[in-house]
Symmetry: D2
Amino acid sequence: MYSHPAVIQLHHTDAAGILFFGHLFMLAHDAYQAGMAVLGLDLRRILDEGTYLLPIVHAEADFKAPLRVGDAIDIRVTVERLGQGSFTLAYDFVPATGDVAATARTVHAAMAPGGGAMALPDELRAALAGRP
Amino acid sequence: MYSHPAVIQLHHTDAAGILFFGHLFMLAHDAYQAGMAVLGLDLRRILDEGTYLLPIVHAEADFKAPLRVGDAIDIRVTVERLGQGSFTLAYDFVPATGDVAATARTVHAAMAPGGGAMALPDELRAALAGRP
Amino acid sequence: MYSHPAVIQLHHTDAAGILFFGHLFMLAHDAYQAGMAVLGLDLRRILDEGTYLLPIVHAEADFKAPLRVGDAIDIRVTVERLGQGSFTLAYDFVPATGDVAATARTVHAAMAPGGGAMALPDELRAALAGRP
Amino acid sequence: MYSHPAVIQLHHTDAAGILFFGHLFMLAHDAYQAGMAVLGLDLRRILDEGTYLLPIVHAEADFKAPLRVGDAIDIRVTVERLGQGSFTLAYDFVPATGDVAATARTVHAAMAPGGGAMALPDELRAALAGRP
């Protein structure tokens, strides 16, 4: 779907000297937001229009190698699953060595502004369908 | 106005082993949010009612001694200035030693939901007036 | 193992008006850090001594109901698994309603300072064994 | 000194719908870290070598216009002051409209690893001198 460059910032690290695990989810979301914008699905517009919400209902990550301040990484986002009312994105965090340092997964569910589940909006389905 | 206990969390620190300066502003805001709630000024209610906004228009901090993961601190908030359309809060960050490790200051301006400046709402003025 | 009170802060929320999913992991870690301290396992001491590291190698969360600014929650941490070289903690995030709003899980692996896997240190095993 | 592009991410915003003020300092530091790297002053190398530290001893920001999710901004960093033992950086946050939305300032002091003040290291002085 999208490849997003990022650099590990000092405030992503902690006193153990490496990326604090929670910040990986922020970085994943940065890549998601950028990829959606490229597909014409600006989060800002979706929020402003208010016809549907896309809350993340599940998130997970696996950490394979430490990331340190200044590391340049490529965040590779793929559409792993496109369901009736939700979709799943997978993320590989790849530093310059080429070895995946971490992976993540987020599940996004379509919700009506009032709160109930709904089918994925057409614009979303069309944009994500057929994406690798 | 209020004294708020906090503990420096691992994700507040960075690879230099001490509090990342930017997180001090998050901690200051935690103390502000808690102090406001005690005065009957829940940020949630203010946001939900939408009759006024209270954006922070200025923030500053001075760092005198390093704070480390696990440090228990007391954040002492005082009303430094209560103006016509804004107020200023001052914060002392005091660890167990009693020596102030950092200070901060935030200026909050009353704004109409549409965007223009407005006088401080009565409930806010009444709650903050006479506070030390 | 431990029950940790928290309040959803304004900076935990995003423009959709609810907790940004990534911040749940910060809150989970706050509860972990506090629970470890109660067991005599201060993260600060572990980092300073440097005889072992405890990187999080897996993290996941499920979001069942939105959390909003000002929500008071109880984070209930349990030891789900105590393995040879790693342990798993489970977290329930319980607001005042009593209905679990989110759950999380973190897997912590013991590592030698040089980088290789190692058995869980005795102090850790002793402290966590028999904990609910 | 340096101009750094950034996009306001969803997790930079809060339930009031705009950038949470504290995150501006994270963005300022991102620009600082990138600018230093361009000058050959990688924070990673400075931390690893451990011959000096550069703690931020003062930070401040003024907020002139709201920033929203998806806003593309240019962070323009200038060396405002190059002192004996510290230097001051100034930041303009400029969205596509060209009107400065926020400004910030950080003061960085040179410290010996043991903790005392020291003169700015030569490599730092040489890199920053004459920078606009």
